[in-house]
Every structure is written in C-alpha cells, then in structure tokens.
Symmetry: C2
Subunit: 469 residues, 2 copies
C-alpha cells in the first residue's frame, strides 16, 4: 500500500495530494485526496460519501466487491472524520452529472482509505443546507458549526470584504499602519471601556484606533488600518459586539468636508461592489437581491432625514438628537424607493452626540461635520472631519470634562502642524451582516464577544469555576 511505507518522503514522491476540484481534470487517473467526510449513504455492497476539502465536495464510492478491506474501513467512517483516500477518478454518465456541484461530473472510486482523525457522534445533523440552530447552540458548538458550508461562506465573503477595503484604501494612496490596542486613557472618554491590569498600572483597551490613526495622518497624510475596537457596552443588541474588527481610514490635507464624503462613499461602494463581483454566487445564496450601489449615494443632513421620516410615516422624530435603529431602517426604505440605493450618507449630527474631536460646523456649531454611512438600514461606518487646531481641541476637551494630561501624545501631534483632516471607520462584521442578510451581527463573527459570552457563556464558565473551587 502506498501510504504504509515508513518513509513519508517516498510516499509524497509517489503521489502528491490532489484537491477534489483538481480531480475533475484527472479522469482515469489515481489520485490522493484528503478531507473531511460528509453525508454517508449505504446501499448494500456500496457505500457513498462526500469528501470535503478546502475547495469543494466530491462524491466517493466504496465497492465491497472490489476490496473487502477498504469497505470495512469505510464502514467505520462517520461524518467529520478526517481521511486520506487513494481513489480512481471516474467520469459520471451524462445523466448522473450533478450540476450544482463543481465536481459533479466525476465520482471517486476508493482504492484505499486511511483514517487521519476520528470524530465523535455529532450533536446535530450537519448535512442539511441550513443548520437551523438557535444562536446560543451555534456558538456553543462553534468549532463544529464553523465547518458547515453556509458558515464557511460567511467568512469567505468576509475575507473578500477586508481585501476590497485594503484595495480601496490603496487607491486613495493610504499607507497601512499598525497601531496598539492598549492605551493609557480611554479613546473617546466615557465609561464604556475595558480596563487592563498592565504591570500593576491602569490601562484600557482602545475603543477605536482613532487617536493613533490621527497621529499617523500627521505623518503619512493618508493612512489605513484594520484593527480591533473594544466597547464595554452594557447592552445586548443584534448590532453590537464587545470586540469588533474595524477598518479605518484617515486623510489629511483635505480641501473640504465634501472630500471626506467622496472618500468614504468611494470606499463603501468599492467594498460592496467588489465583494459582490468576486462572490456573486455566495452572496446570492444568502438572499436574492444584490445590493443597490448607485453612482451617487444620496446625502442628507440628520435633520433632513427626520423630516423625510415624518413625511413618509407620520412618525415625528424631528426633535430627537440622534437617529434610532428604526429611523435608519426607514431612511433606507426611502433611499431604495426614491434613489435606487441601498446606501445613504447622513451628515451633521448634533455636535454633543459625537466624540470630542469632531469638527463643529462653522455655519452652525450645534451640528458637526460628522457622518454615518447607512447600508441596508444599518450604520456600517461612522466618522467626521476632526478638530485640527490645538487650542480648539484643548478647549473642547476641557468643556467635555476630559483631562488633557491623559492625552499628551495625541495632543502633541496638534502642536506640530496638523492640517485639516478627517476619516472614517467601517465595521467589518456589520458589512458582512448586511451584505448577507444575517439577522445578528454575532453570525458575522467567528468568535463573537459580548456581555454574556467569551466563547462559552459566562453562566457555564462560572458554574465550572464554582465546581473547581
């Protein structure tokens, strides 16, 4: 047998691994496949199963009449066993071709099977198109549920989103920067920060890469970073994570506020369009409507949004100082119906609702040169032009009750020539969620962190702690 030889090197020379998708080009040849077993069906002296590798599934048949020994091994296999398989590639007859499968034109006849790793009996049926699990179960069995093809698609699409963001940032001539997540002060002020015991000193996890990317915009003019943001929000919603992946740009020497809107809309439309272009089938498998990306994304001031909502629905939110989740959904409906767009850019939020570094509109300082980008009814991006004058920044911090001494390195950058600048931050999980019509942002995170869970639910963790003590 090819693989029971002692020398691994010889085995490798003898036969190199073939991916299932490559086998379609090797009809009549012997191939060495590796992968995980899915769906097993027995028909008397025949056993069929699907083998899943990183590219696709392929159907395998084991015939007892060809080898009793291989048939016996196949009989021991259960779903999710990791195996190595020597097989002969057969072309299927035209009538048996499975057009829904990239390897649907072939079938592998097993000549030998080696079990690399066995699997326990699965706690639920993983062979269905949808797992149909409640979110807590989906996350309790995360190492297993991630293997399901539909779950895999989510994170394959997520990879493409991140790459598209990097591409768009490079087109804007941004330099990629790497910035820390441990800081000595809370980024945005406020209480919603996680505290770290840092060699006995107080430190915090950054609520955003904000302060550091501004410093770096003072170096490279245009910068981008993909990093983590930590928010100790004491609430559980379908839209919030305690640790999220943020995709940030910051641009200095801007001509005006409009240049920032142009930039964020460019990046936002690029990311969504490019991802749909590259992952069309995957996106369609999560919903029949592809996103509407217009040539010009509608731009509205927050007060205009409230007026539109009042006119459309009679719901009067015109005196509210922020938009609610319901408002964001309503203005999306308007954008779809009136402008053929799944995006809306909303500007001029009240200054006091935004972080201290937000530039107040010189024409009416009660409102700010801030913006959110709404995609399919959810804010996927937030940002603003920043206060770039040292004295104005210092004054604003003091008015907000922040101690400037806690922001020394940040303030330093404004002492040495900070031009007009601004930026924005995309939530990777939120874009993934809305692009794939997921109901909960946790589904768009491989290992979501929230108030109730770090991998396991705290209820479970604490029960164990109790048991251990």
């Amino acid at each position: 047998m090819y693989y029971i030889k002692k020398s691994k090197v010889k085995m490798k020379n003898l036969l190199k691994r073939t991916l299932s998708i490559e086998a379609t080009e090797k009809i009549g040849q012997e191939v060495l496949l590796k992968g995980w077993v899915e769906r097993i069906r027995g028909h008397g002296k025949l056993i069929f199963f699907d083998l899943r590798d990183r590219k696709s599934l392929v159907q395998v048949v084991v015939n007892a009449q060809h080898s009793e020994k291989v048939f016996k091994v196949a009989g021991e296999i259960r779903p999710e066993f990791a195996i190595e398989l020597l097989g002969l590639v057969h072309k299927r007859p035209e009538s048996a071709v499975n057009k829904n499968l990239s390897t649907g034109s072939i079938e592998i006849e097993a000549k030998d099977i080696k079990i690399l790793a066995s699997a326990e009996t699965l706690p639920f049926d993983t062979t269905k198109k949808d797992l149909n699990l409640e979110l807590p179960t989906l996350l309790d069995f995360r190492s297993l549920t991630l293997k399901h093809s539909r779950q895999q698609v989510i994170f394959k699409v997520q990879e493409v989103i991140a790459d598209a963001f990097r591409e768009a940032s490079k087109k804007l001539d941004c330099t990629e920067i790497f910035i820390p997540t441990i800081a000595a002060s809370a980024t945005e002020g406020g209480a919603e920060v996680f505290e770290v015991d840092y060699y006995g000193h107080h430190a915090f996890l950054t609520q955003s890469p904000q302060l550091y990317k501004q410093i770096m915009a003072g170096v490279f003019e245009r910068v981008y970073t993909i990093g983590h943001a930590y928010r100790a929000e004491p609430s559980v919603t379908t839209r919030h994570l305690s640790e999220s992946v943020q995709m940030d740009c910051e641009i200095a020497f801007i001509d005006d506020f409009k240049e920032l809107l142009d930039a964020l809309e460019f990046v936002g439309s690029y990311v969504v369009s490019k991802t749909v272009e590259k992952c069309r089938e995957m996106v369609l498998s999560f919903g029949k409507d592809l996103p509407l990306v217009p040539k010009e994304i509608p731009r509205l001031k927050m007060r205009e949004v409230q007026e539109i909502i009042f006119k459309r629905s009679g719901r009067d939110v015109r005196s509210e100082i922020d938009l609610s989740a319901e408002d964001e959904k309503e203005i999306w409906s308007w954008a779809r119906e009136e402008k053929g767009s799944d995006f809306v850019t909303i500007t001029h939020y009240p200054t006091k609702k935004r972080a201290f570094y937000t530039y107040p509109d010189p024409e009416n300082p009660e409102y700010s040169l801030s913006y959110d980008l709404i995609f399919r009814g959810l804010e996927i991006l937030s940002g603003s032009q920043r206060i770039n004058d040292y004295d104005q920044l210092l004054k604003t911090m003091q008015e907000r009750g922040l101690n400037p001494e806690n922001f020394n390195i940040y303030l330093q950058t404004f002492k040495y020539g900070m031009p007009p600048e601004g930026g924005f931050s995309f939530g990777l999980e939120r874009i993934t969620m809305k692009l794939l019509n997921l109901q909960n942002v946790r589904e768009a995170s491989a290992f979501p962190r929230d108030m109730e869970r770090v991998d396991e639910r705290f209820a479970v963790i604490e029960k164990k702690d109790h048991k251990n003590t």
Copy 2:
C-alpha cells in the same frame, strides 16, 4: 487670490492639488501644493524651504521682489508648519539639479502661501539625516519624531513586509481569518498574561492567535491572520514588546513535518526577498548589506546547533535546554560563513520548553516537532506541528497542570476530526528590526508598549495621577 474665495467647490475646480512628485511633469505651470515645511534658509530677499508631502520633498523659493505679501507670510513660517501653496514650476538649470531628490530637477516659485496649521518651536533639530535621539526621547516625542524621513522609512518598509506576508499566505492557499484578542483563558498557560476586567468577569488578552487559528484550520485547512499578541513579560530587553503584531499561518492535512518547514521557509524568504525588491533603496539606506536569502535555508536540530557552537567558539552549551540570544547570533555567523545565508531553521527544541500543543517527536518524545526561524541572529518566527489527537492533547494538558475545562471550545475542534496540522507565527516588528539593522525592536513599532511605557513613561503618568488626586 484663488483660495480666499468663499466657495470651496469653486476653488477645487479652479486648481486641484498637485503632489510634489507630479510637479516635475508640470514645468511652466501653476500648481497647488500642500505639505509640511522643512529646512528654511533665508538669503536676503530670497527665502528657500523644502515642502514635504506624502510622496517627496520639493524646494520652494519665495522672492520678495515678486510679492512683498507672500514674502511676509513666508517669513512667519517655521519648520513643520502645514501650508498650502500656489506656485510656478521651474526647471532647474542642469548644474543645479539635485540628483538625490526625486524632485531635484525642479524648483517651485511661490506665488501665494496659506498657513493651514502652525507648529511650536521644535524641541530638537529635525532637519538632520539622522535624528540621533536617545530612545526615551524618540518615544516621548513620538508624534513629532515619526514625521522624520528616516522614521517614515521604517514604517513604509513595515507596510510592505505585511503585504508580502499576505501575498505569500495566499500563494499557500490560506484563507484570511479574523480572531478575537479577548479570551477566557490564557492561551499558552503560564503567568505572563494581561488580565481584563470583562463586565466583572475574568478575561485575558491572548498571548497569540494560536488556539483560534487552529480551530480555523479545522474549517478552512489553511488560514492566515495578522493580529496582536500580548505578553506580560516582566523584563525589558531590546527584543521584546508587550504588545506585538504577529503574522500567523496554520496548515492542516500536512503530509509530514517537512511540509511545515517548507511552508515557513517559503513565507520567510518570500517576505524578505519581496520587501527588498520593492524597497531596495530604503533598505540600503539602513545598511549596505542586503539580506542573504539562499535557495535552501540550512536546517539544524537544536542539539546540532549546540555542537556547532561548541566547535566554533569552544563555548559549551550542549547541556542547555534552550538557545540563548548569544547562541542565535553565533549560529547566524555560521550560516553566513558556511552557507551564505542570513536565515537558519532550527528544529527539535526540548518538548518541555515549548507550549502544551507542540507535537513530541515520535522518535524521541523528549524533543518536539517544533522550529524557530533565525534571521540575522534573531528568532523572527516560532511554531510547530501540533498535537491533533484529542486524547493525547487532553493528557498533555493535564500533565502540564492546565485545566481542560478552560479550553472547551478549543478542545471541541479535536473531537470532530482534526487532521495532522501545524503552523507558525512571524513577529512583524522583529522582521522590520533585523531587515533595517535597528538596535531595538521598539524602533520598529510606531507606538511600542513595554513594562515602562504606554506612550508616556509610567513614571510621568503616575506623577500626574498624584498631582490630580
């Protein structure tokens, strides 16, 4: 004047910003430049200064005889002022061309200058080729020192290293994954972890993406991620950061240990070669020797390394259970001299010196299927084949005094068919450090974190705290 018009939109239509490097193609034309001021020289009725933007420097001349008003503004400018400048592009006479500057063939005659942001008097001379500051000063003034051209080069090269890593990982067919940094248990065990107050629960910052990337290798077979690693090491060396950027790969369904060595050496040489190819001049500006990347990187077992060191230097480290920094430098000298290589792969470290998930060598379990990659005398990569059998892993954890209940989600992945697998992790700052011959890894981090500093030195922070209370 073009820029004092009220309507910004009109201004933009009138003249779009030109980058200094683009001005070389616009001789005889008026251009709008933006940037920071460097080196100012006055010669009677002439003022010369360099203007720095994200692409290059360009020389500007202001002539009092052309405009007294502009000359007056120019007289107010100090280094690091951010300005906007309307200028006429002149070709320099052949004799005045500066061949060391990409814009050395032109000079800009200032027609108008607008100060966008002023700068305080600089605390040190930033116009020299080298800043020549002690590390504490370099970091105390980080927002300013990062603007120095030599500092910028470090992080421009770093960007290229990260991109090259992503390229190499894609060539290995790895899927990019995004994983959390907050975990419920210490990744590798041990005491060197930072604790986070997570909604009143105990949580930790991950010492590496290790456990999560292994889970994801059980999903996508081959994965990569660029993330953060946190080490609460209570020591201050030139090689350690408390928060570092790690570039990780994990590969499942490997044929054998050698496949992992092939993979890590491919990625390591690709990253260094590609970066040198793209940043040749920048790398050469930090040292005249380009890295030696051989076709075959020498591979030695740790015990063989110790024998070589003994033979070369007479220093007997053969009974030590790990290599010291000095040993890594010595074996590098050997590799350069004997093999023409700045790289050495060292394998088979003692099992008890490596993390619990490391696969013991079946031929001698006292040693492990582990490896470090040494580049110019420093470990820039570490990794191993992993224990992929559930029972063996459980037993090892128990032997090491780890409570398996704290690793439930991780262990779950080994219950459901984990094939032979392994991986490795590059330190981004360490590669940057060695490629550019930096003396301290902190120089390769824009905002380094260590025992003594988070942006500011703790001595300074605590003095303030004392003052505030």
